[in-house]
């Protein structure tokens, strides 16, 4: 179980508890967090689950693979060095307290 915080573009935040083996994407979908569309259901096809990891983050996240890197070229909002696909971020105790920022648009 991990607490994940999604910060919306207007500054408000939604904090939810997410169980393993879900992903950060699925945590948002299960709690109807607006701003994550995830049209491909988590198969790294659509780029509509784009998030920016908080720059101050120190929690361990898996490295990005080539497919994720490529999919991030197509995000609706500008990609940055903090960009990730939330469907490629598995939830575990190790990322309890993760803060992610949602982009202005996903599609």
């Amino acid at each position: 179980m991990a607490k994940i915080t999604y910060q919306h573009p207007n500054g408000t935040v939604t904090v939810v508890d997410v169980e393993a083996p879900n992903t950060v994407m699925r945590g948002a979908k299960l709690n109807n967090v607006e701003g994550i569309e995830a049209q491909c259901g988590g198969s790294a096809q659509c780029g509509t689950c784009h998030v920016y990891i908080d720059p101050a983050n120190t929690l361990p996240l898996p490295a990005m693979d080539d497919v994720e890197d490529d999919v991030l070229y197509g995000t609706a909002c500008e990609r940055s060095e903090f960009s990730r696909l939330s469907c490629q971020l598995p939830v575990s105790d190790a990322i309890d307290g993760l803060l992610v920022h949602l982009p202005e648009a996903q599609s």
């Binding site: 910060q7 573009p9 207007n10 500054g11 408000t12 935040v13 939604t14 979908k29 299960l30 709690n31 109807n32 967090v33 607006e34 569309e37 049209q39 491909c40 259901g41 198969s43 790294a44 096809q45 659509c46 780029g47 920016y52 990891i53 908080d54 720059p55 497919v67 490529d70 999919v71 991030l72 070229y73 197509g74 995000t75 609706a76 909002c77 500008e78 990609r79 940055s80 060095e81 903090f82 960009s83 920022h101 949602l102 982009p103 202005e104 599609s107």
Partner: protein
């Protein structure tokens, strides 16, 4: 009156996403989601892919768990069929006889598979694939010893099933009536590459051949398929993927405009301002096609759901989302953006033989879409370019060394750049 109550007829991708989007937007009225499938809304894409191999577990094909609907105060009536709509009284009547009032009605009834119009089509072992029950039946039949599987129809579902069955070690034949595979969906270059992939994997692909009859053994199980010209092939299992028919009965019965789908305007409204139609069953004016079309994709279902939810919440806007679709066969990533039927010019970039390339499609010198095989960056970039209307010219795309990544934006990630949001946190 139930002016602020929304009834959604059809609990699939589009219906479930409408209910979720309404709540996410802050809609506080009553939401009733009625669907005739017993399990509630399911995620269909895995049903022709990972579900059949066991890579995707049954519980993962549930779009959202039952607790979601309870938490969001969405009344999910799974296993219920809407039998008719009474527009004058603003009520729907269920097959059980129950009547429910609505302020706004959303028709999200999807499609059903077309069945094979030949003798023997109702033999045991002749299947179509739409819901979880179909997929479970097919999964069980594919789980045993090697069988002779014949897939009728070389569209996406047929080819995905063929790839999956072949991957499980079955002997697979694909029979397609058109002279080429994926004729309506893909350019010849891409379709041919996909067929080559199947042939390389040992699938027999018969193009331009029609099924004329199926014959069973003494117990009513399918055994033989007969093709035009009289050729017979052995078949222990026949999977029919020859397209779908939109579920328009409710709309027809209510006197709404119907013609290969429920006809809606640019705001996805039917002839009745209180009734919308979305997803696979809706025929809408597409700015990308320049005419009314029907699309069968997750993207279209979820984007139309959000469009309608916004309208119900008082933010009406025309539906203009960029169409896109994906397919997976033998682990290959095939993605389509825009509407690529009938381009007048195509430019292929990348490595065709190596299976990593994109076909950029143009009409009148404008980019109208792209098909990508194992080039996800090209796909995503094309979607953004189409949304912005700023694609490359065909001449630019033909320049040696042309790359969409460099055309569209500077190489990413941009070092030292802060994330887009740097705002004050307002705890809630």
């Amino acid at each position: 009156m139930a002016a602020d109550s929304v009834v959604v007829a059809g609990a699939g991708q589009a219906g479930a996403d409408t209910a979720a989007a309404l709540r996410a937007k802050g809609f506080t009225g009553r939401i009733t989601l009625i669907g005739d499938e017993p399990g509630g809304p399911c995620d269909r894409p895995p049903l022709s892919k990972g579900y059949l191999t066991g890579a995707v577990a049954p519980e993962e094909t549930v779009l959202r768990p039952p607790s979601f609907y309870a938490a969001q105060d969405i009344e999910l009536m799974a296993g219920h069929r809407v039998a008719s709509v009474d527009r004058d009284r603003h009520t729907v009547c269920l097959a059980s006889g129950l009547r429910l009032p609505y302020g706004t009605l959303v028709l999200a009834t999807g499609c059903r598979p077309r069945t094979l119009p030949v003798p023997g089509a109702s033999l045991s072992g002749v299947l179509t694939l739409r819901g979880t029950a179909d997929a479970e039946d097919l999964r069980l039949r594919l789980s045993g010893s090697p069988k002779r599987v014949v897939v009728v129809g070389a569209g996406f579902i047929g080819l995905e099933v063929a790839a999956t069955a072949r991957g499980l070690g079955h002997e697979v034949t694909v029979v397609e009536a058109q002279p080429r595979a994926l004729a309506r969906a893909l350019t010849p270059v891409m379709a041919e590459r996909v067929v080559t992939g199947h042939r390389d994997a040992g699938v027999r692909v018969l193009l331009g051949r029609e099924v004329t009859a199926l014959y069973g053994d003494g117990t009513g199980r399918v055994r033989v398929m007969e093709l035009d010209g009289g050729e017979r092939i052995a078949a222990d299992l026949v999977v029919v993927g020859i397209g779908v028919v939109p579920n328009t009965d409710l709309a027809l019965g209510a006197g709404l405009g119907v013609g290969d789908g429920i006809v809606v305007d640019s705001h996805l409204r039917t002839d009745d301002p209180d009734i919308y139609a979305i997803g696979d069953c809706a025929r809408f004016p597409s700015p990308y096609a320049g005419r009314h079309i029907r699309l069968e994709s997750v993207q279209n279902a979820t984007d139309q759901a959000r469009c309608v939810a916004a309208a119900i919440c008082g933010e009406p806007a025309p539906y203009t989302a960029v169409p896109w679709f994906w397919s997976e066969q033998y682990g290959l990533r095939l993605q389509m953006a825009g509407l690529t039927a009938a381009p007048d010019e195509t430019v292929t970039v990348g490595d065709v033989a190596g299976g990593r390339f994109s076909v950029l499609c143009f009409r009148g010198g404008l980019l109208i879409g792209a098909e990508s095989l194992n080039r996800p960056a090209d796909h995503g970039i094309t979607r953004r370019l189409l949304a912005a209307g700023t694609g490359p010219s065909p001449e630019a795309a033909r320049e040696p060394g042309f790359d969409l990544k460099t055309f569209a934006r500077p190489p990413a990630p941009v070092r030292g750049r802060a994330p887009v949001q740097e705002r004050q946190t307002t705890p809630v």
